[in-house]
Amino acid sequence: MELSSEDNNLTEKFLPPIEQESDVELETKVKKYLRGEGANLETLKDKKLKTQLASREKLYGKSAKTAAKIEKWLLPAEAGYLETDGLEKTWRVKQTDIANEVDLLSSRNQYDIVLPDFGPYKLDFTASGRHMIAGGRKGHLALVDMMSMNLIKEIQVKETVRDVAFLHNEQFFAAAQKKYAYIYGRDGTELHCLKERGPVARLRFLKNHFLLASVNKSGQLHYQDVTYGGMVASIRTGKGRTDVMEVNPYNGVVALGHSGGTVTMWKPTSQAPLVQMQCHPGPVSSVAFHPNGHLMATSGKERKLKIWDLRKFEEIQTIHGFHAKTLSFSQKGLLAAGTGSFVQILGDSSGSSSSHNYSRYMNHSMVKGYQIEKLMFRPYEDVIGIGHSMGWSSILIPGSGEPNFDSWVANPFETSKQRREKEVHLLLDKLPPETIMLDPSKIGAMKPSRRKEKPSRGEIEAEKEVAIEAAKSTELKKKTKGRNKPSKRTKKKKEMVENAKRTFPEQGHNNTASKKRRIGEDAAAELPASLKRFARKN
């Protein structure tokens, strides 16, 4: 008995180096699952609360460790990779070389579908990557099952189609057509015509909130809840026409890129933008968000690609040389940029999460004359879908997709029963639009103890404009029996506008109040000593 305990002590002291390294690896994984720092319990004086919180922190540590161990040992698949030896560079590897090296199933994912008649194609994938909708500018809509390469339904709407987007699953998709946006079912029947929005330039769906966001030709942003059809918000951005709109998957915030080079971020519950960033000297061509929510890539017409850190709103990196018409981030953080008929994939060469350094990873040039319209990485696969002027293609990018999916989040092998159940669960977990905020982890956290903060001047102005517009656009009842004189009507309308303005007090009042106070203080200094106790004390 004693000998074995001595042996145990020895093994504890002299761990082999591989095991020590894996401990470090496990530590980083545990940090990921802990989701932030633990609370500082030393400052608590209440002993009962302290012990309760300490036991809870212990439980969090245990669960994070178990999750890290599961990630290390129990996940079924491993990520793809492309490693070159010695002098060969990764961006010189062509798709044909890749096709020679990989298995048959993967090489089926490389193809070009040529449809020259129907114009540049836009694509969208479902969350599980199984279905794709392709919309050609001249009116061709095609719903494809990517795993079996089966065309489920194709329709010709005989109008220009500017954008397509899936709703929560492959049963519904939305198409932005010439005058209005339409929602179609899986079998091609037109379900809804969304007239309120006007001619839509871009459509995006916020999955957790069931909101269909769109920006139309006059620069108005609309949010509509597709479960009951109500328009949650329609915001006049005031920045003119734009067709660059992307959704940040981390927090549900919509970013618009404008022709002045600014990128503005919006949430449905406020009329003023959350953030305005001056990104480029010229118009912004495209915006893309990293799935972790910290990185944003923007490209401008001055042939620069900039990578921004969204926590500090600072520029991390600029890449010169080409004008990227379309950008897309993959699940693993690879950035795809498309210009003309050339696709460039950039990868993060530094492994750490704090500093990023994007450099060339792979290239692909298509047949000259194919103008790339949209790039989108397919979820959970090492594939990127390219929509271009002659149809759509798909090429292999090793290391871009997440290898292990979670059946409860997105299941590419879903049966119809599972899909129906998932739809019900998604609806039960539908988030109210008020939960869209820049930092979604603030929900449930302690509010910083401040006095109620006044909304900023810009916000107040925006709200005022909306209220005045609403007052102006109300229709007055048409009175009869000689009471409907035009002079009275105009007077009534003016009165309504004045009432709307009155709820927003003048901004200039603050200055006068502070001036008065200063006068009072000066006067107090001039008073004789015997009267000083009557001076107004503040």
Binding site: K32, Y33, R35, K48, A67, I70, E71, L75, P76, A77, E78, A79, G80, Y81, L82, E83, T84, D85, E88, V93, D97, I98, E101, V102, D103, L105, S106, N109, M147, N208, P249, Y250, G252, P291, N292, Y380, E381, D382, P398, E402, P403, N404, F405, D406, S407, W408, V409, A410, P412, F413, T415, Q418, L428, D429, L431, T435, P440, S441, I443, G444
Partner: protein, 452 residues
């Protein structure tokens, strides 16, 4: 050059035969789940709403007594049965599952004030205002009992007459002695016709008595001179004694922490004490607006139920100042006795309107056999609701209880009275020299002194 791309074969990820279960794959990476806190908040809101939808605590009423129910006793060996006694001397044994009387124990001439069962479940002891203590032999429950519709009448096994009316009785755990409360505290043995031991202090009568579940020789009593006394039978005198501002109607020991006891007081609060150190209450449980008549602990020791003169039954956590739950009905009048069932699932209340009522301890609990998946979902809902119960929307739903109008108004009046007292106290302190005005905490304020 090494290249590998993801390729999933359909066989690995789908089931082989249609009789197999579907395959489920997990990846707990937080980056796959954006906005997880918002989703959890939404689930907490839904869980709180569902809990309110399924909250149906009232199970049934047991009708049969002809006068108000004065006391109840539970048999720890037999979950289904409960004894109850009324103000006209009627003692019954009920079968809770069918809510019917199994047998009656007639004999008392006046009100029955105390009922208790011996630990082995064979002997029922009752005492009343007719100065008698009666011992009854409890019939063994057999399978035929549930089918028998006629009620049996049992003769008392023994009947002891004494000098004064009795107010309460309690049986020793794992012993042969039982104690009665009357003009004095008397200790009896089953076989003797007169008390074995007798304690007296002053001239006031003893109102309630309770033996400690952990230490069989220790018992706590409360007297009409507003005192709580702890006696040790081996010592022949009182061990501890405190005098409070108002009298204590009932006492209960915590079965999981036998040194702690909780006293149900006339001023509407319950005071939890550590039996070893009685000069300060450990916790004050305040929510009743009128006198608390009876108190009983759950066998888990984590909650206790109280019945009050204000026609409501409340369930308190053992260490919390406010009630977790309130039960009330228009038909339920003054509640005189409450019991927590021995499986911690039900609460019984006996009230002035001659009915015994059966309530669920957790109002939205699903009774019966639950599938493991259902159980997991219930646990998840409970956990996510507890995590977000401080957020205003969720708190509003979780806290909401409909109160009967008299209780609601009385609570409002109590709040204004307390606020004004506190404001006056604050002003006095602000306008006097610092340190002259010292407020005692509520845990000490209601205790006048500790004697001996």
């Amino acid at each position: 050059m090494k290249i590998k791309t993801l390729s999933r074969s359909v066989d690995e990820y789908t089931r082989e035969r249609s009789q197999d279960l579907q395959r489920v794959f997990h990846n707990f990476d937080p980056s796959l789940r954006p906005m997880e806190k918002a989703v959890e908040y939404k689930r907490a809101l839904t869980a709180a709403k569902l809990e309110k939808i399924f909250a149906r605590p009232f199970v049934g009423a047991m009708d049969g007594h002809r006068d108000g129910v004065s006391c109840m006793a539970k048999n720890p060996n037999y979950l289904k049965g409960i004894f109850s006694a009324s103000m006209d001397g009627d003692i019954r044994l009920w079968d809770i599952s069918s809510r019917r009387t199994v047998c009656q124990f007639p004999g008392h001439q006046g009100a029955v004030r105390g009922l208790t069962v011996s630990t082995d479940g064979n002997v029922l002891v009752s005492c009343g205002t007719d100065c008698t203590v009666r011992l009854w032999k409890v019939p063994r429950p057999t399978l035929e009992d549930s089918s028998v519709s006629s009620e049996n009448f049992i003769e008392p096994a023994a009947e002891y007459v004494w000098k004064n009316a009795f107010w309460a009785v309690d049986h020793q755990f794992e012993g042969e002695l039982f104690a009665t409360a009357g003009a004095q505290l008397e200790i009896w043995n089953h076989n003797r016709a007169s008390p074995v031991q007798s304690f007296q202090w002053g001239t006031d009568s003893v109102i309630s008595v309770r033996f400690n579940p952990g230490e069989p020789d220790i018992l706590a009593t409360s007297a009409s001179d507003r005192s709580i006394t702890i006696y040790d039978l081996r010592m022949s005198s009182a061990a501890r004694r405190i005098i409070m501002m108002t009298k204590t109607n009932s006492i209960a020991w915590n079965p999981m922490e036998p040194m702690n006891l909780t006293a149900a007081n006339e001023d509407g609060s319950c005071y939890s004490f550590d039996g070893r150190k009685m000069d300060e209450a450990k916790c004050v449980h305040k929510d009743h607006v009128s006198a608390v008549m009876d108190i009983d602990f759950s066998p888990t020791g984590r909650e206790f139920v109280t019945g009050s003169y204000d026609r409501s039954v409340r369930i308190f956590p053992y260490n919390g100042g406010h009630s977790r739950e309130i039960y009330h009905t228009k038909r339920m009048q003054r509640v005189f006795c409450v019991k927590y069932s021995c499986d911690a699932t039900y609460v019984l209340s006996g009230s002035d309107d001659t009915n015994l009522r059966l309530w669920k301890a957790k109002a939205s609990e699903q009774l019966g056999v639950i599938l493991p998946r259902e159980q997991k979902k219930h646990e998840y809902n409970e956990a996510v609701k507890n995590r977000y119960k401080h957020l205003p929307e969720v708190k509003r739903i979780v806290r909401h209880r409909h109160l009967p109008k008299p209780i609601y108004k009385a609570l409002g009046i109590i709040r204004t009275v307390n606020d004004s007292k506190r404001r006056k106290e604050d002003r006095r302190r602000a306008h006097s020299a610092p340190g002259t005005i010292v407020t005692k905490p509520l845990r000490q304020r209601r205790i006048i002194k500790e004697v001996e």
